[in-house]
Amino acid sequence: MIDKVVPNVHIALSGIKDGMTLMLGGFGLCGIPENSIAELVKMKTTRLTCISNNAGVDDFGLGLLLKGKQVKKMISSYVGENEEFERQMLSGELEVDLIPQGSLAERCRAAGSGIPGFYTPAGYGTEVAEGKEVKFFKEKAYVLETALEADFAIVKAWKGDAAGNLIYKATAKNFNPVMAMAGKITVAEVEELLPVGVLDPNQIHTPGIFVQRIFQGKTFEKRIEQRTVR
């Protein structure tokens, strides 16, 4: 067994430098690597390119990095709920690359899978396809999309073991498994770090081979963005 455990978030994120590209798992505030984001705020790393489906809210998630002006560019599919984001984007301080959600997910998976490019129907005939190669298969048009790589992928899982194997809970899975595959270095923060041999090898979502560092997260606030009840 190859041991991936690091003692804390500080060591887990060592090596992250100004100007790097980071992938961060999560959908909205669900399944985001809270402990790592808090550490990135402390590290004051700047000029980051962040690949994440969303950009958090003003005072939580990636919004915290935006507030500290640590982000140079966001690559996302939807960046709604964030006033500081809007201000920086409209003022030109922040570059934003918007990508269809399915293409974003597949581009991460492609990077992790050694597939440099693939064809998707998403975005054909729209500005998203501008400058991209178009190819017809069975008389339908598809756009060439390429693998999206990151220096670090930072994901959040429910359970994990020392070998780096990960299990996610419910819809907190979302982008975490595909991003875990795509990082040159993948860091996983988990709610519960278990000894090797406890997790059923049939039930693992992310095989440890994709994970370079794993640590037990200290606190998980798990904030709810839209609390709706019956």
Binding site: F27, C30, S76, Y78, A105, A122, T126, F175, Q226, V229
Partner: protein, 220 residues
Amino acid sequence: MLDKVGIAKRIAQELEDGFYVNLGIGIPTLVANYVPKDISIEFQSENGILGMGPFPIEGTEDADLINAGKQTITALDGAVYFDSATSFAMIRGRHVQLTVLGAMEVSEDGDIANWKIPGKMVKGMGGAMDLVASAENIIVAMMHTNKEGESKILKKCTLPLTGLGCVKKIVTNLAVMEVMSVGGLKLLERAPGVTVQEIQAATEASLLVNGEIPEMQLVS
């Protein structure tokens, strides 16, 4: 004339037994409340759940269980969670039979614009571009005209497109229309109390009116 609930009720009539359905945010979400009792449907939410249930009972909300609108939800028996790549495999691979989306504009060729207004803050397309480019059956739920009374059913979209030639049916507060394979719209039904002339006046797109146009039948 229909309200938003009326539009949702009319779209619910398009559901067929065994359909997997993806509902967009806004009016489409309401469709879930009017599924006919005698058919089985499963709702897919692109953030990673199949078998989505109603909102949770207060006190049982789970931060790890949300829908694509970031709302807390529940899971029904038989539900399954999956990652975003698998989710869009379902969508792109046409395993989801019906997608219901809102729109800012729809053209008579089935083009749809629903993600961007030049000069305004752009929030992103989310999964909309994947959904419209992939689904075999896309129904748009929208108001027929904007606040200024101008038609949103156009010859050509003026806003940046979300997808090209993909809408199959449009259900508005005034009418049900079909996008014909040769282009152009065909009027199928009138909303209760709305005349064909009123629909024609509110529609910029070419609208084929063939014979008597029936009024929608909505069960309450």
